[in-house]
């Protein structure tokens, strides 16, 4: 195959209807149900918010999409391929929560981004010229190229986020899983990130963004999935974001809770879950 002109554009980025299809997915850990009958579809070039309380199964769904957990039932396909095959093609990139990263690790920005390329390298992980070029392109995209030799802990909060977005770009993935990307981010960084997300969307990538903070979602998500062990509501943001659905997601009136056993109320009565926390 000839060198594609743009290395960080994955061949799978060709226009297609759907990126992620999850059908009847059930996952349980040691007998405890984590996800039950989850079905959803994320289209190409769309940003999908994954909203639920802590323990609602957001991270389990991410783990399932990365192939970390074996579903007891159901299946997942990415870009029309079975999950395993798609993962081998580096179709899925995971952007971790910033708290889970060891910022004192003796590694610099360019090396972190290079790690996005490891999956496609030989066993010794010796980067080719293409790998170096992809790293450069990715870092330029997020405007971190001048800082590439910084140790990662020397970056500001927003730069740290961008470094990990660059790694996902370098991986060339068409599906990006973002775990609580707005936690602890100032307004300026948030705007910058949303701008990048919209660029990714325009390129045909699909983003699945997990959050328990609703204030971000309405602004730029095309679709929303509300989950609590199972999909409570799913579809276009404007249709799904009703008070009734949110009450179901975060625990609402007692009457509703009675009709849906197993869903734990997480919020005190009177609190409005669709307002972000102060």
């Amino acid at each position: 195959m000839d060198n594609p002109p743009d290395l960080i554009a994955h061949p799978d980025l060709a226009p297609r209807a759907e990126r992620i299809r999850v059908s009847h997915l059930c996952v349980s850990y040691h007998g405890a149900v984590a996800l039950h009958e989850v079905s959803l579809r994320v289209n190409a070039g769309s940003i999908c918010g994954l909203v639920g309380t802590n323990g609602a199964g957001k991270s389990t769904l991410f783990k399932a999409l990365m192939g970390f957990v074996r579903p007891s039932q159901g299946d997942i396909s990415i870009n029309g391929l079975p999950l395993r095959q798609a993962l081998r093609r580096q179709a899925v990139a995971y952007v971790p929560q910033m708290e889970s990263v060891d910022w004192n690790f003796p590694i610099h920005v360019a090396n972190v981004v290079m790690m996005g390329r490891y999956g496609g390298m030989n066993l010794l992980r010796i980067p080719s010229r293409d790998d170096h070029r992809a790293v450069r392109e990715s870092l330029e995209r997020v405007e971190l190229w001048p800082l590439r030799h910084r140790q990662i802990g020397e970056l500001s909060g927003g730069q740290r986020k961008r470094a990990f977005l660059a790694r996902a770009l370098a991986q060339g993935s068409s599906v990006l899983l973002l775990d609580e990307p707005f936690a602890g981010v100032d307004i300026r960084t948030e705007r910058l990130m949303i701008e990048l997300f919209q660029q990714f969307r325009a390129e045909g990538r699909s983003l699945l963004i997990s959050t328990h903070d609703l204030s971000h979602i309405t602004g730029f998500c095309d679709e929303v999935v509300l989950i609590n062990k199972t999909v409570l509501a799913y579809g276009d943001t404007s249709e799904v974001f009703t008070e009734e659905n949110l009450a179901r997601t975060f625990g609402g009136s007692p009457a509703q809770l009675l009709t849906s056993p197993g869903l734990e109320p997480r919020l005190e009565p009177g609190r409005q879950p669709w307002r972000s926390e102060p």
């Binding site: 060891d102 003796p106 590694i107 610099h108 490891y118 999956g119 992980r125």
Partner: protein, 279 residues
């Protein structure tokens, strides 16, 4: 004393030359590994594995097998037992580690007192690099080469594994393999280190140089070179020191290592105590 005499006189003895070479090699290998140990946060695991290899070493000697084989089996075995107990019960990991390695160590102690063999308990506990036998040298060199090759071969994967195991797994890197690879290398390095400083102090070889280097640099490559350099320097200086003072070799080696750490802790240009207070 004339410094040249101080340096050269001990080299007139064959056992000193051998001790210096073997311990420098072992220290270098352990120093390289210590970078991964400190970054992965496996110091306690290193302590556990180094103690747990003891029954393996005793059994191997008794059966006339290579001691590295016994050490390897028991080192990896102890970690498997730790993982199993942690998974099956609600006991916290550090408790499990503590109880498993002391159990293995006690087994080794008991065996050594009952099994008729030529091994000396104090040599296992505190090392015997000045009296190391030709066969032990051969095995130690072999282990060191093996450890070095494995660490170099999987260097980038291991760095990734230490830094971000989730990403590693998500791009298809076999993290289970890397986990056991690092453990195997740890068992092998522990048994090599045991030759020079003994079971009790081998964890110092597996932790201190890495910690010293970690305070001095923010780059992994430099960190490994500093760790290796400080480890080799410590073992050479430690052996000289023990020769001239007629003191415990293992004690001297580890004391020099600790001394270098204290220097780095105080004077490291960015992460040292003085630099931080000046800020």
């Amino acid at each position: 004393m004339d410094p040249l005499f101080w340096l050269l006189e001990p080299l007139r003895h064959d056992f000193m030359v051998r001790a210096l070479l073997v311990s420098a090699l072992v220290a270098g290998i352990c120093g390289l590994l210590s970078c991964f140990m400190t970054l992965k946060g496996w110091a306690l695991m290193g302590d556990a594995v180094s103690h747990a290899v003891m029954p393996g070493v005793v059994i191997a000697y008794a059966l006339n097998l290579p001691f590295a084989l016994g050490a390897f089996i028991f080192g990896v075995g102890s970690v498997a037992v730790i993982g199993y107990i942690k998974q099956m019960t609600r006991i916290k990991e550090d408790t499990v580690i503590g109880l498993v390695f002391t159990g293995f160590f006690a087994l080794g102690l008991t065996l050594i007192s009952k099994v008729r063999s030529t091994i000396d308990l104090t040599h296992i506990l505190f090392g015997n690099v000045l009296g190391i036998s030709g066969e032990d040298i051969r095995q130690t060199v072999l282990i060191s080469v093996l450890v070095l090759v494995l660490l170099l071969l999987f260097r980038r994967d291991l760095i990734l594994f230490c830094f971000d195991p989730t990403h590693a797994r998500s791009i298809g890197v076999n993290t289970g393999f890397l986990h056991y690879l690092l453990l195997s290398v740890l068992s092998l390095a522990a048994v090599a280190g045991l030759q020079t400083v003994g079971i009790i102090l081998v964890v110092a070889m597996l932790v201190t140089p890495g910690a010293t280097a970690y305070l001095l640099t923010d780059r992994f490559d430099r960190m490994t070179w500093i760790a290796i350099g400080s480890a080799v320097l410590s073992s050479v200086l430690g052996i000289y020191w023990s020769y001239w003072m007629d003191a415990s070799t293992a004690g001297c080696i580890v004391l020099v290592q600790t001394g270098l750490f204290v220097l780095s802790f105080l004077f490291a240009p960015r992460h040292g105590l003085l630099a931080q207070q000046r800020r």
